[in-house]
Amino acid sequence: MSVTQNPDVEDTSDNSSELIARIEEYYKGVIAKLTGEEFTNQFYWSIGSVLLALVVSAVIMVMAGYNPGVAFVWLSYGAITKLDQVLWYASPLILTGLSVALAFRCGLFNIGAEGQLFMGSMASALLAYLFAFPIVVHPILCLAVGVLAGAGYGFLAGLLKAYRGAHEVVTTMMLSYIAILFTSWLVSQNGPFWDGSMVPRTPQFYDTALLPVIFGNYLHLGFIIALMAVFGVDYLINKTVLGYEMRAVGHNIDAAENAGIDSKKKVAIALGISGGLSGLAGSTEIIGTFDRFTANWSAGLGWDGITVAVLGNNNPFGVLAAALFFGALKAGSNTMQVIAHVPAEMIKVIQGLVVLFVAAPRIISWLVDHSQTAKDAVEKEPAKALPWVLAALFGLSSVFIALGTARNIMVLPTLTPMVLVSILILVLVALTGILVFVTEFTHDPRGSFLLLIIAVGWLEAGIAFYVGSGTIEVTSLIMSAISFLFWFALNFLAKGTIEEGEGS
């Protein structure tokens, strides 16, 4: 007996050491990816986008009459002190973000993660309160059923896309609305799973079904599951044949077809897996955070998943970072609202701006490149290059001053039509200010013409305000004078350089 057992034991130890070696190899691969150039570039872009978004949102806050410094301090204070809340908010976002990212990798835009999430959470909710199971088995079964329900729902859209050519943006979105309406009917007064209270919801789950809290007051086991999913999806996309084929389909569907990949099958499978991840997000939330299914409980976790995937550049680890960032914003926003009295909606503005800047990474490279050339030019010939830079800075400051003045006028007690016109002109001046900054920063010859426009704009805003209220607005007159000055100076300089060029 012992003789026959020994090889077995050796065999398993061999397997385990091989497994350890593979894990180590995988770990090294992850490290290499994190320190690679592509990733660091992406990282800089993301950080740059976040910083730019914070700057723009600070401008909006100033316009709205809040103190951005205080707001940001309390935002970060809240995010740091409430670590458990940050991770708690982040865990479903990680899963929905992975769901959207995985579909993106296969060239599909799964806009309906919300619906798959509702289907998954409904399925596990039913299992959690209708059936009794032992303590560890119950949550596992709930999660499995949730994943299956979400996957089936995603797979339906995948089949429609693959074999009927129905655009997945439309079908997943429509399916998502259907899921929300259907689940809210199931738990409503007329539905079969209503608990009899005033609220449309199911009865309470069995205690055995709930996921344990692992840290702080909120953070449940779902976070660990989400972390495992990050590694799982990374492995699936980068290390398996299926993942390779899905990426090939997403990259170029014709080339993939020619290489012998059944692209239709891959599309359906990709949306199925994507739906399964969304379903998992719903399941972990419903048995981790809640103890019953309430109609419309999610409030946009699936939609946020799109944003998270976008911000994480559809890379599993990027998704993890983006979800943590969003969780931090969400956790910090409560502190910000309570102490700095800045509405929590500001967070959505920041998120939108971050995504907008992420959308166009060239904005940041544009800014970096031209800052470099401007710096070089100033160092080489300060007398010639400085006026341009100053004019650019003037354009930028003119944006802030115009918006600030517009705000100051807006809170005046009397708003005559002419004053409204003055506000409108100021807003237009602010827009022109952005253009002035862009043109002057790039040494565009059209810049001087824009300076003339902005000068006239400032003057007209002042005149309109004077006509409307009878008092003189000093700021706009000063700004007008400065911009006229810049216009003259730059025209003079430009003439000088042209003559110089002709002479030589």
Binding site: I60, A64, G65, F109, I111, L160, R164, G165, A166, H167, V169, V170, T171, M173, M174, L175, Y177, I178, L181, F182, S184, W185, S188, Q189, N190, I306, T307, V310, P343, E345, M346, I347, K348, V349, I350, Q351, G352, L353, V354, V355, L356, F357, V358, A359, A360, P361, R362, I363, W366, L415, P417, L420, L431
Partner: protein
């Protein structure tokens, strides 16, 4: 039966639509008076529900015909709705409100245009950003302007309805058309104008070329970037108008996230309408009809109320069936592909 016998691609289609409208009107004329009133009410509600969808859908069409996907319509509509309400509230003039909504819509879309056309960003990503930014900013400004959460103060100066007293006595036309918002009429006019612009003007040809084959447009000496950018801005203007209809045309106040997914439904209407103006109009009216059926059942068939959710689902189910089983939609060829000029060697 072979459906191909009906040649839907020819001018007979227009004729068939007109004939069915006429036959429908005649048929309604023979119905009992109460039913005519209900039918009239249904038509009026359909038009009300369809207007924002059609306007935003037409906007999306301009953008996508030029090759730029604009899924940010939802955010742009919300900003339009807010601006319309805020300007009408302060300036006490609804037309200024509409103008402001159109301008802000165009401005918002131009952010998307700059990100997608100039900086060649990902259209979906940028559109998501526009949705988030528009939703957040409109809610933030709502609190700022009216110092209320959820819903702003009612605007007294909403867009005045057009009255046709001559129709008032007719049992069907009275409830249907005697009181009608001018924006509903704009919807029809803009649809016709869009058709003309898109298919009968040089600009329309250029816009379509920018979406189908930008390199040809470029070799014809027309700037692809500007053509696409203008398409995006027009889309924002129309979506802003659609949003303003919600806050100062049909309703009389701005509420938090009041578009409730209409931007997405109008995208579906655009795809359903196959990226053509009259297609978008038909799809938008159809969706509007399905939404108004929901109200219809709540008012006239309360027995069915327990199943209201299923009736609300109907438009979505029908869209899936239609797209999955009946027809394939063909988007412009160069959609979502940034145009890079070939570098000189």
């Amino acid at each position: 039966m072979n459906w191909r016998l009906i040649n839907w691609q020819s001018q007979y289609r227009t004729l068939a639509v007109l004939a069915s409208i006429v036959i429908g009107l005649i048929a309604i004329n023979f119905m009992p008076v109460e039913q005519q009133a209900i039918a009239g009410w249904l038509v009026a509600t359909t038009l009300q529900m369809a207007t924002p969808l059609v306007l935003a859908g037409l906007g999306g069409m301009y953008s996508e015909r030029g090759g730029i996907v604009n899924i940010g319509l939802e955010g742009i509509m919300l900003m339009g709705a807010f601006t319309g309400a805020a300007v009408a509230y302060y300036a006490k003039d609804p037309w200024l409100g509409l103008l402001g909504a159109v301008m802000v819509g165009g401005l918002f879309a131009s952010i998307h245009g700059v990100a997608c056309v100039k900086y060649k960003g990902n259209h979906i990503v940028s559109g998501t950003g526009i949705i988030l930014f528009g939703t957040g900013l409109s809610t933030l400004l709502l609190e700022l302007v009216w110092h209320q959460k959820g819903q702003g103060e009612p605007v007294t100066n909403t867009v005045p309805d057009l009255m046709f007293p001559a129709l008032l006595d007719h049992p069907f036309l009275g409830p249907a058309f005697s009181v009608i918002s001018p924006i509903v009429l704009f919807m029809f006019i803009i649809t016709g104008v869009s058709w003309f612009v898109l298919f009968r003007t040089p600009f329309g040809l250029r816009l379509r070329a920018a979406g189908e084959d930008p390199s040809t447009l470029d070799s014809a000496g027309v700037s692809v970037q500007w053509t696409r950018f203008i398409g995006v801005v027009i889309s924002g203007c129309l979506a802003g108008l659609g949003g303003a209809y919600l806050s100062i045309g049909f309703g009389s106040a701005f509420a938090k996230e009041m578009t409730s997914g209409r931007g997405f439904i109008s995208l579906a209407a655009m795809i359903f309408g196959n990226w053509t103006p009259f297609g978008v109009l038909a799809a938008g009216l159809f969706f509007g009809f399905l939404i108004s059926m929901n109200y219809f059942i709540q008012i006239y068939f309360p027995i069915l109320l327990p199943f209201a959710n299923f009736i609300a689902m109907l438009p979505y189910v029908l869209v899936i069936i239609a797209l999955g089983l009946i027809r394939k939609s063909v988007p412009p060829k160069a959609i979502a592909i940034p145009y890079e000029k070939e570098k000189k060697g």
